[in-house]
Symmetry: C2
Subunit: 145 residues, 2 copies
DNA sequence: CTACCTGCAAAACGTTTGCAAGACG
DNA sequence: CGTCTTGCAAACGTTTTGCAGGTAG
């Protein structure tokens, strides 16, 4: 069993989340391919496996609450993606203003430097920052030509 | 006439947006007090002035398209706020995970440093970044005690 | 006067909820 | 076996749309 799956199972246990066929189907979607999904997309991907849209929403909320996945809002859209367990909770996404496509950004080293600035904000606003979500908007490689 | 108002009028002209009583009411809300509003809040604030909710949505979309205001999505909520015309299009917001309050962050110098990193992203992803939206999540000054 | 804008109400959309039937351990 | 979970359909809140009447220039 991989370390990742073990970690996921521990988190589910810790939150007293029992195992069901539907929850496993949804979770494996996130684990198999680490990308972002809309609730509706998940529903359609799992069509035929007998999972109602209400269950999709209920499961997503449950996984979010126990910190396994995170929610990203971009305009009218809402996505969910696997949450990085190991380290810094920083996420960078890019949305093309022309074609509307939405990309993840993975280069963690580049992102690292953002973190140092968080302390300034914490002091300025007298808050505790746990999560950083950076959304970039512009033109993607195809549309910018 | 202030430089700001002049600038706004020029942008409206440039986009061929004609003047109406309703559009003026909504725009002055943003200009008078530079904060973020939900469509519904605008509708309620202007209640009694005879502005339908459909007009609020249509006007917001129109002002957004011509770059006068910008949209911010946080979970289920959608806000609109005046867009900074002069310089860098960087916006930092903070949402408290406990009480749900949503704050603007204004310390531009602190934010400035974020900009340098954008170039790395542009090169990595082969995109052009026009807008940067940073959402921080954590505990606000009241809730963190 | 013409073209565009508006309010209204209905429709569309994403999300949530109540409930009876079913699955889990 | 009791409890928790599910699918369905209805309810909900937000956003969009069609249309007849009104407004701007």
């Amino acid at each position: 069993m991989s370390a990742e799956v073990e970690c996921v199972q521990k988190m589910l246990e810790d939150h007293g989340i029992t195992h069901t066929r539907q929850r496993e189907e949804i979770l494996s979607l996130f684990i198999m391919e680490s990308k972002h999904y809309k609730p509706d997309e998940i529903f359609k991907l799992l069509r035929g496996k007998g999972i109602g849209i209400a269950t999709v929403y209920r499961t997503l909320e449950m996984l979010r609450e126990c910190g396994l996945i995170k929610e990203i809002s971009v305009g009218k859209d809402r996505f969910y993606e696997l949450k990085n367990q190991e380290s810094k909770h920083i996420y960078v996404h890019f949305k093309c203003n022309k074609c509307g496509k939405f990309f993840d950004y993975y280069n963690i080293e580049a992102v690292q430097e953002y973190v140092s600035n968080v302390e300034t904000v914490e002091k300025d606003m007298n808050v505790k920052v746990n999560d950083v979500n950076i959304n970039l908007y512009g033109l993607c490689s195809k549309c910018k030509c």
